[in-house]
């Protein structure tokens, strides 16, 4: 029986370790890659090496950054340091940023609470969050964890941690949670009951 050359088999095996890539997809990717020009392959390898060597977490917020420097948001003078948007992962911050209307800063927790799966409070970047709130004179924390059970529990846990903190000047720190409701462009009759229920609860004045 004709087997695959060992070098190719090794490449396929390496690719299957990536998330979302099964054996079939890995085969297709590997076969495409070996047809690339050597220069293209070298530049892919370079990009890979660079990313691994240079991409770091922003020392302040935990967003994706480069060479240990502050991320663009933290480095920017124009961002409002008194508002913090707390998200589970760096990609969530990227998603909020794509929305284009948020002008505050971010804080990445690095996951969501789930004692069942072994994720405990100590595994989240909560101490850093508390420190930042005091140091930066934060007046509002927007909790933008996922609308999943774990995300909700994380929000409730953060509430426990933050509820007694005060903003500069002694006023209570404003704690908010992202609204839940209909996605833009959605048709009402296609919405699931839980979404509709939540949209009704969080309805706004016209």
């Amino acid at each position: 029986m004709l087997g695959l050359p060992p070098a190719l088999a090794d490449l396929i095996h390496q690719l299957t370790r990536l998330p979302g890539i099964g054996p079939k997809a890995a085969e297709r990717l590997a076969l495409a890659l070996i047809k690339w020009e050597p220069a293209e392959v070298a530049s892919l390898g370079q990009a890979l090496n660079d990313s691994v060597a240079r991409v770091t977490d922003c020392p302040t917020c935990g967003c994706l950054s480069q060479d240990g420097e502050l991320c663009d948001v933290c480095a920017s003078e124009g961002r409002d340091a008194s508002v913090l948007c707390v998200v589970e992962d760096a990609l969530d911050a990227v998603a909020v940023e794509r929305g284009g209307t948020y002008n505050g800063r971010y804080h990445i927790l690095g996951g969501a609470l789930s004692p069942m799966k072994g994720v405990l409070p100590e595994d989240l970047r909560v101490a850093e969050l508390l420190e930042r709130i005091q140091a930066d004179g934060v007046t509002e924390v927007i909790v933008a964890t996922n609308a999943s059970p774990d995300g909700e529990a994380t929000a409730l846990y953060l509430k426990q941690e933050l509820v007694e903190l005060t903003a500069p000047g002694g006023a209570a720190l404003r704690l908010t949670r992202l609204a839940r409701g209909l996605p833009s462009g959605a048709q009402l009759d296609y919405a699931d009951p839980a979404t509709l229920q939540s949209a009704l609860e969080h309805r706004t004045e016209l």
């Binding site: 405990l120 100590e122 529990a153 426990q160 941690e161 009951p193 839980a194």
Partner: protein
């Protein structure tokens, strides 16, 4: 809901059965062991994907046969037909609905809505509270499918909270480690538990109330003439009244049970520990103080109350499967039960007594004599 056509292959003692069933009361008469209950068991399988007698599919496959087949043409209350097909092998099931393979069994269970009574159904009353909570929740979700996420939320919060308790209170002998942030996480899950738990307790209390309205008069008509009344009550460690204090009461009980939680390391108060009570004369537990006759009547009445509620609230009249339900009743109560059955679209009644069959026959659409896995029409009453 009704069963129009049934096909069995190698199911229990039915090698081959192909029959059409009319609406109304269908009597299955025959000696013990003839296969009357087996037929009801097949219909029960189509409804709940399980037997009421065994947990092992292998047992229902006819001796030395590779597989059993149950196939049915059903019709809902608007006479819309649908087909259900079930193949049972040892350790394997193959389920089809309208010709489509079903991989998620929950998409199949309950499509054929039925309520059943069989002599062993007494365990519903005398057995573990889990059984009663399951029945109550199943009916609640049928009436209000939007509650499913609430149940999922509760189960998740409960599991997570229990995980935190296990971390907070390690086994004796191990070092106690009680960081402040774990206590705060516990508090977060307590909030989630209360939010979903209160909703579940409210809904269960509500459905118990409307079920009770069906149950009490039915029980009075069907129970042994001893004069006692039986009612349904939702039993919770959490005081359910006044309603606006429910969340506060649950929170108080959870905080009072801290010591118990520390030693048992799981959540000991909430809807997951509640029960549906069958209460004799407004005070005593039927499970403990009722006679077997009373318990039997209560179990039967409970199923009939569920059917009546479904018909009233959802205009969904479930199929009734009554296995040997009349044998311990006097003639007057038999007549009353039959009068109730006549109000339902389709009812299967088994009986091993000729006298009983003679009593039912005038009210029945058709009477079958069951013998050795064969059904023969014994004539119809009307």
């Amino acid at each position: 809901m009704r069963l129009k056509r049934l096909k069995l292959r190698d199911f229990r003692n039915y090698e081959r059965l192909d029959l059409e069933f009319p609406a109304g009361i269908i009597v299955l008469a025959g000696a013990n062991g003839a296969g009357k209950s087996n037929l009801l068991e097949a219909i029960h399988y189509l409804s709940y994907l399980k037997s009421f007698r065994t947990n092992r599919d292998r047992e229902v496959v006819r001796y030395s046969c590779p597989l059993a087949l149950i196939e049915a043409r059903l019709a809902d209350d608007d006479e819309r037909p649908f087909d259900a097909r079930l193949v049972l092998k040892s350790g394997k099931r193959h389920v089809r609905l309208n010709g489509n393979d079903i991989t998620r069994f929950q998409d199949f269970i309950g499509r054929l809505h039925s309520q059943f009574f069989f002599p062993g159904d007494l365990t519903l009353l005398t057995g573990d509270p889990t059984l009663r909570r399951e029945v109550l929740d199943l009916e609640l979700l049928r009436l209000k499918p939007v509650l499913l996420p609430v149940y999922q939320k509760f189960r998740n919060a409960l599991k997570q909270r229990n995980s935190v308790l296990k971390l907070l209170y390690p086994q004796p002998g191990r070092r106690h480690n009680r960081p402040v942030d774990l206590l705060k996480a516990l508090e977060a899950y307590t909030e989630q538990l209360i939010g979903a738990g209160v909703a579940i307790m409210r809904e269960r209390r509500g459905i118990t109330k409307v079920l009770n309205e069906q149950f009490v008069p039915l029980y009075a008509r069907l129970a042994p003439p001893e004069g006692e009344s039986v009612s349904l009550r939702y039993l919770s460690a959490v005081p359910l009244e006044p309603d606006d204090q429910l969340a506060a009461n649950y929170r108080r009980l959870l905080s009072e049970s801290q010591e118990t939680e520390a030693s048992l390391r799981f959540t000991t108060v909430g809807p997951h520990r509640d029960d549906l009570g069958f209460i004799l004369d407004g005070e005593r537990d039927l499970k403990r103080y009722g006679s077997q006759g009373q318990q039997r009547s209560a179990a039967l009445t409970f199923r009939l109350a569920l059917a009546a509620l479904s018909r009233q609230r959802l205009s969904d009249d479930p199929l009734l499967l009554l296995d040997d339900a009349l044998s311990e009743m006097d003639d007057e109560r038999k007549q009353r039960l039959l009068a109730i059955c006549r109000q339902h679209r389709q009812v299967f009644i088994t009986s091993a007594s000729q006298r009983e069959v003679d009593l039912i026959s005038p009210l029945a659409t058709v009477v079958y004599t069951v013998e050795d896995g064969l059904l023969a029409p014994a004539g119809s009453g009307q």
